[in-house]
Symmetry: C2
Subunit: 277 residues, 2 copies
Amino acid sequence: MERNFLLTIEYDGSGYSGWQRQPDVRTAQGELEAVLSHVMGKSIQVNGTSRTDAGVHALGQQASFHGEFGIPTDRIQTAVNNLLAGKGGGYGKLGRVGDMRIVKVEEKPAEFHARFDSLGKRYRYIIGNGPDVDIFRRNYAYQITEPLDEAAMQEAALHIMGTHDFACFQAAGGNERETTVRTIYSLTVKRQGSDVVLEVTGDGFLYNMVRIITGTLVEVGLGKRKPEELAAVIESCDRRNAGHTAPAEGLYLVEVFYDEMQVQAAREEGRACADRR
Amino acid sequence: MERNFLLTIEYDGSGYSGWQRQPDVRTAQGELEAVLSHVMGKSIQVNGTSRTDAGVHALGQQASFHGEFGIPTDRIQTAVNNLLAGKGGGYGKLGRVGDMRIVKVEEKPAEFHARFDSLGKRYRYIIGNGPDVDIFRRNYAYQITEPLDEAAMQEAALHIMGTHDFACFQAAGGNERETTVRTIYSLTVKRQGSDVVLEVTGDGFLYNMVRIITGTLVEVGLGKRKPEELAAVIESCDRRNAGHTAPAEGLYLVEVFYDEMQVQAAREEGRACADRR
């Protein structure tokens, strides 16, 4: 009998040329498929929800695959993780840790598809904003030593929430025939210690959209743009009016929504944020 | 006029085959000398205090070099760091961060030597001890998911403090003609959130000594050895009686002591720790 599995995966993007399988380079999908194929005893191809770029991290990437397998669901996670622990780092037997890990395996109905059934996603962008750079975080945060005004960034973010044509936030290389209208449920900017952390949820994201939003908000935070400019930037539908593309290293795919409750919670988060204004 | 400079350096060891210059591999000393030579306009060789192994990190490595230079002391740090920021990672112009950085440059009397004048060192060893591994810390901590008894580890550590022949904690490959007697001023084991952190100060350390001490204390923390066994392990002077060598990834060279006050403070720390027993 055909079975359908949904995997929740985390990976450190610094060792990968992005998610998508490509010949001759190390990618997260390629690595996962190689190990899964070994464990399942036949060639496996997975469908991921998000084609993260080189250097982008995932805490909750989702990918599904199907086929006829005898293996119990709970055995897949352990077997795959044991093999992954030897990849991309790790140090000997005791305490060996790799750069990808399956967090959860669920069995789903035959018709379930990780990407088509997704109702939205949450991304996090971490900006290190202390007075000194931290070399140990160079692959894990965007480091800006000039102080950012996170209140101005949050003010600007309010213009981005809601349903808009976001062509201004799409990098060249995106699908040009597709609609550029998306709904952003929530976009919060919070200081956490010396970090400034953006959390954004939406029904979908254009190519490099979170990184261009972040770059634009950083320019607001540095006082180079006013928060109220954002309305005109969006209305212009012109990439040249938005800010720079923030580096891949600070970006994390946090979770994929399959449940309407998650979407409702994200909308609530957005409303609460607008109300505090 | 000949001038003598002392550099304080931090580096992320994950991209380096250790400190010491070697042909055809990327080492911290090799990288630093290449950049320094470029900035100073002549070939520079530095004397480092600690030959950290591959994967070991430094927050306060010290290295000195001398020669006739016209450059103001405070220009060296900026010029070298600007070049280092492009190495071993980094992401474009804004917020570029490399994997090595000069923290401080001091001009010293002609007779000062970074290694020979050192009075001791402080190392830190970080053990991740939460219920799950964290793939993002695979190069920065030794991850053990079974709970460690840090009180038992601290109890065992008290046997290590003081002046002993530490041959049992020396890996093969050390200098065999040298004395293996060393003085450990302090050795503390503390839980910090889900981490267990060892801090050890001493007048000098044998090859792999901190990693073998850590491996031995981990075995105590897991209940595989009793704290009081440590006295006999040290007395035996036999490496086979000590525990495993903990991985390089959790080890940080924190600082080098040049001042008798730092030694006194480390001794106080050790006494306070023994008194709390």
